[in-house]
Amino acid sequence: MLMNLFKFKGGVKPPSNKLQSNHLPIAQAPMPSHLVVPLHQSIGGTPQPIVQAGDHVLKGQKIGEADGWISAAVHAPTSGTVLEVGMHVRPHPSGLDSLCVVIEPDGKDEWIARTPIDHKAAAPADVFHHLQQCGIVGLGGAGFPAHGKLTPSKGVAMDELIINGAECEPFITCDDLLMRERADEVVCGIAMFRDLLQPKKVLIGIEDNKPEAIAAMRAAVDAQKEPFSVVAVPTLYPAGGAKQLIRVLTGKEVPGSMRSTADMGVQVFNVGTAYSAWRAVAHGEPLISRILTITGNVHAPRNYEVLIGTPMGELLALAQPHPDTDGILMGGPMMGFLVPNPQVPVVKTTNCLIAHDDRLFPPKAPEMPCIRCGSCAQVCPHELQPFEMYWFSRAKNFGKTQEYNIFDCIECGCCSYVCPSRIPLVQYFRFAKSEIWAREREKNAADQAKTRFEFKQYREEREKADKAEKLAKAAAAQAAKKAAEAAAAAAESSAAPAADGAIAPAVAAPADVPAATVNPEKEAKRATIEAAMARAKAQREAVQPKNTESLTPDQQKAAADIEARRVAAHLIEPEPVAPAPASEKPE
């Protein structure tokens, strides 16, 4: 089928190194000695563990519950015993630990009851829930939960669904082999995505260095009579980047600021995601294994189907690494990273393990100064200016790096690859990005602290004002009361000697009697204290133990005994029979 293809700017052509591992069929990796399953394997919330050490789990049993909408469940890759739920190193450039479930396989590989779902009959929300519960995430690299991407964007019609089989990174052949051997199920998965998203077109992009995969996919599409177009795209790194593949296949350029390509009416899924989503829907199988390329400095490079959680060292041994192997590279040579030790487990997004040695990856010569040749800008697939971003990252002038759109950088490594001064540009950009994020976090924390501090101050002021107002009111009331009492007393006393004709002075007296005899302020204060004491007394008397009404005589006797002992030991004052004397200090 003829189709007009577009081009993205830049890109590089590193030696592909794919032939070593793509001539043998996918093999099943043997059961490892133990499995370390990290709970955080996708973008979004960290799933909560729902098993404990000592629990027996079945293959496919859920061990981590999805935390929020953008999160996916985690499952036991085989049947066995949970040894511990603890901190273990996870494949991440930091080499730091995170919460993992360690499972010792029992060798039976016994499945839990699987519940397939008919995606055509079920409501889309139920299908999304099923995919989330099966832990289906994007297998291309970022690990975004698939159900999140399948939810149609509001108000934007879906034009194209793109299936990414480009696999542009050197050395990696897992998607190639998956398409060659399991094309039927991949196409079923694509058809399901099509049913959910209702796009106008479905395009399957495969780099033209994989003719067998293209042929297999075309055959599968024809066999299922689906109107999908399988398109051979020119081999050029990074054609497998989502935005690059969209550009090549549709000519649409996704603006850098746009987080989701769904807002452009395009959605991209990896072929592996389509396959595992189909297994989840049609067979009820959660994502517990994946296809993985083991290559590099080894005797027998090959693709294996491996359980999630298998320690990488055990896998590498299958391919018989040469003795000079000094590390394991996870991912491809352009974007991958060296894992901290061979115990690191395989996760859902691990697509390739490369045995590292100095012959394949010669140590880099020292970094030289930037000569502003502009090679990096010519190869940047996002049309950025890496040399400018480099200067500002190096000078820690992060505001400027953002002006040069550092967050559009996909860290593909083209710039570092071509740099004649061998500057590790991507490392500078990663450093700048993580610094900017850290500052953002600090700024938010500071803002929050400021609002909380200001609110506390406001609240203290308000409480003080309230208290003062209350006291003033009480004092005024007391003063008025005293004045009235004094007036009454004066009236009585004056009424006795002057029975008649002396009413006028008696009426006038209340006005000046209190002022003359007592200091009203002192009087008010004393009255307030007295009132407070009376209130406290009343409160004390009102308090009754709540649990003593329905006691049996035995219990009452026991309680009385205990009370007697406590009194004897001077632990408490003897319970007063009469109300407490009023001389107790007010509360």
Partner: protein
């Protein structure tokens, strides 16, 4: 005659412009000192009082009035640098030891529920009630250490925030070249 006209024109101009300026002074009056706000945005808002002022805003006001810019330990050397850039003053070494970011932790077995730390916390990051165990909301804690002195049973300690995958940062790729120690000639 001409001179009178000239004076009249100048006087008229002065009246009109004076009225415009007077109007602008009332209409576009700036509330507060914008410089204080800019300084406050740089200060870390821990409200710890380690600068000797009761909070970040009073210190920001004091800086405007000529106070030194190197008295904020939580802001660190970087904070001093940013203040110096803003105010055009000279960078000075921090007046105290720079500490890694910490949070307070209450030993809940020892806490007697006296509420003194709750009253001391400037950002209301401690929850609890009289005679009930207290605890610190880690996300809200600014690490100001103001809750340490009032505690009668010393059950609060500071702990450095550990590095996790969520707050891990890529390292600066530039390796500083330091002079090798000179080897003494034998």
């Amino acid at each position: 005659m001409d001179i009178l006209l000239a004076i009249a024109i100048m006087a008229l101009g002065a009246i009109v412009l004076g009225a415009a300026l007077g109007f602008a002074a009332i209409k576009f009056k700036v509330e507060g000192d914008p410089l204080v706000e800019k300084i406050e945005a740089i200060l870390p808002q821990t409200q710890c009082g380690q600068c000797g002022f009761p909070g970040c805003k009073p210190y920001a006001e004091a800086i405007v009035n000529g106070e030194e810019i190197n008295k904020c330990p939580p802001g660190g050397a970087e904070g001093v640098q940013r203040l110096a850039d803003l105010l055009g003053r000279e960078v000075k070494p921090l007046d105290a030891e720079e500490k890694p970011k910490q949070i307070a932790i209450i030993d809940e077995n020892t806490c007697i529920g006296c509420t003194l730390c709750i009253q001391a916390c400037p950002v209301d990051a401690i929850v609890g009630a009289a005679k009930q165990m207290h605890t610190i909301i880690a996300q809200q804690c600014t690490g100001c250490e103001l809750c340490l002195p009032p505690c009668p049973v010393e059950c609060i300690h500071m702990a450095v925030i550990p590095e996790t995958i969520d707050n891990w940062k890529w390292k600066y790729p530039v390796v500083e070249i330091t002079a090798a120690p000179l080897q003494k000639a034998a």
